[in-house]
């Protein structure tokens, strides 16, 4: 602790260099924090998917529909605890460019299948009782300022009503929260019956089904039973665990993980060069002073630790400020009226960032620290 003052004084002796180096580190960690939050948000679709939930799709493509009659048969399969079906609606509110995830669902069973969506009993009952009722996630409700009791028009850019209108009137009867902070609350759900009776494309089809099994260990059996049941029919099914479905869906965008990791690595490589160079210059300028300290009786090991501490501290200042700034960025992104998964800067991002901070400090500090360690007193004093 006695040396901390010296470390701090050395760190702050050239204010402009300190500012620029910290700023570079700050930018790198802000990028890291924000992109890692994005990656976690996308991964959360997979991580938070229930182990006992299966998705039943048309075997040809998930854009192909299934007959509504399938729902009754799937529900009757042994070890199927609950089932709901979902139709992508292509809904938007006021702005056609801002489409959101809106589904026509089997409202009575929906909450049994998606129990990570938290809705009060009163709201749930109100939803079941009101065929024009919809429930919206907290995120999307906040985005559009919807409140329970509102009557809102929502357009579809896929479907139209039998009278030619593309807008449907809905009552907002519930706003659900997520069980986990990263549970997606950007979804909107409404009654299949309302959709089926009013849309003009012909009825009695569903997009896909979500099934909850009585135990994850029975998934394989249930999958086989369902797919065998519809084999050789005009609409064969492919049943997959929800995790696999979400993963495949995300991978359609591209290898996000690789893209994000590449950006972060590039940022860190640049920062490694900048901070490392700055530290080497800084220690080279202090050759004489290091020689004097050794002459006074400071051991080489102690000076080595001081240089390394300076480097770690430098990375720590930039790193902590950068991650804090990424928290601010994430708040801004979450509050922006755009449809994105919920970004969270949680403890795991922080601990990962701090691990990188320490690694950055060590890597950039080790070369100048070794130079200081090996510096011969006579050589050092002659240079000064």
């Amino acid at each position: 602790m006695k040396d901390l003052y010296l470390v701090l004084k050395n760190l702050t002796r050239k204010k402009m260099r300190l500012f620029l180096t910290v700023f570079a580190t700050f930018i790198a960690f802000m990028i890291f924090g924000t992109l890692t939050a994005f990656q976690k948000a996308f991964d959360s679709g997979v991580d938070l998917a229930a182990d006992d939930r299966l998705i039943v799709l048309n075997k040809i493509s998930f854009t192909q529909v299934l007959p509504i009659a399938y729902a009754t048969r799937v529900r009757a399969v042994e070890n199927v605890e609950a089932m709901t079906h979902l139709n992508w609606f292509g809904g938007y509110y006021q702005d056609p460019r801002s489409q959101f995830a809106m589904f026509a669902v089997d409202a009575e069973n929906f909450m049994e299948v998606f129990d990570e969506l938290v809705l009060s009993d009163a709201e749930r009952e109100a939803w079941i009782d009101n065929r024009q009722g919809l429930i919206a996630g907290r995120a999307i409700a906040d985005t559009y300022g919807w409140e329970v009791g509102d009557r809102i028009p929502i357009n579809s850019n896929i479907f139209s009503q039998r009278d030619g209108r593309t807008d449907w009137d809905f009552d907002v009867v519930g706003i659900y929260e997520g069980e986990d902070p990263q549970t997606d609350t950007n979804g909107v759900y409404f009654h299949y019956e309302y959709f089926n009776e009013t849309q003009s494309f012909g009825g009695d089809f569903i997009g896909f089904m979500a099934v909850r099994t009585s135990d994850p260990s029975l998934n394989e059996t249930v999958i086989k039973t369902i797919d065998d049941m519809f084999a050789n029919s005009p609409a064969e099914t492919e049943t997959v665990p929800e995790k696999a479905f979400n993963k495949a869906f995300i991978e359609q965008i591209g290898n996000l993980s690789l893209i994000l990791t590449s950006v972060v690595l590039a940022a860190f490589f640049v920062i490694l060069v900048i901070v490392g160079n700055s530290m080497i210059l800084s220690i080279r300028e202090r050759t004489g002073e290091i020689g004097v300290m050794k002459t006074l009786g400071f051991t080489s090991g102690r000076i080595f630790r001081m240089v390394l501490a300076e480097s770690v501290l430098l990375a720590l200042i930039g790193g902590v400020l950068g991650v804090l700034a990424s928290g601010f960025m994430i708040t801004l992104i979450n509050s922006a009226p755009i449809q994105l998964p919920v970004l969270v800067l949680d403890g795991s991002v922080w601990s990962q960032a701090m691990l990188f901070v320490v690694a950055l400090g060590f890597i950039t500090g080790i070369v100048p620290a070794m130079s200081a360690l090996r510096l011969n007193i006579i050589t050092a004093l002659s240079r000064s």
């Binding site: 010296l6 002459t295 009786g297 080489s300 004093l381």
Partner: protein
Amino acid sequence: MSDDILFDLKGVSKKFVKGKDTITVFDGLDMSIARGDFLAIMGPSGSGKTTLLNMLGGVDQPTGGEIWFDGSRIDSLSENQLAAWRANNIGFIFQFYNLMPMLNAERNVELPLLLTKLSRSQRKKNIAAALELVSLSDRARHMPAEMSGGQQQRVAIARALVSDPKLMLCDEPTGDLDRETADEILSMLQLLNREYDKTIVMVTHDPEAAKYAKRTLHLDKGVFVEKDLAA
């Protein structure tokens, strides 16, 4: 070895290898420094003055022979042992002061005390006493860049004596100062020697500076010629 002898060099040799050549600076040097001595070492450039001072200060090791300090042999100590020995026994004063530019006067003086187990409050007391001794109490918070050369050298003297070393080694302590300031610094060293019984070894080119010492040794090509200048 007599109790009065602080430093004893026995048959010390020092050789440097430069490419294929071996340069011999000392070859069998014998020398004793008594407690309370104020010794000036003079000689032309390349005579070995600084090399000798470096060996006395434990920052350089002899190629052969023995160096005894206060009854203990120091030429065979490891690097870390020598660092501890320097911290406990030696105060250094350099030609160009060598203060840490980012530390104020009192923090510069504190440096050797960071190597001790003294508490912050005890360190502060010692710093205040050392700065008082060099008449710089009012400049304790000043940075080196805000002080004259003479004041910086006084801070360096305070740093050298704050841990109460047995020996002070001065390498051209007035080489960068005007005559008047040099005399002030030398008087201060003389005072430390006479009143506080500090043993001082000073390397200098300046015959006027050497007059402040009790005795002067002339070094030429690694060999001493002793002239007693003490009054």
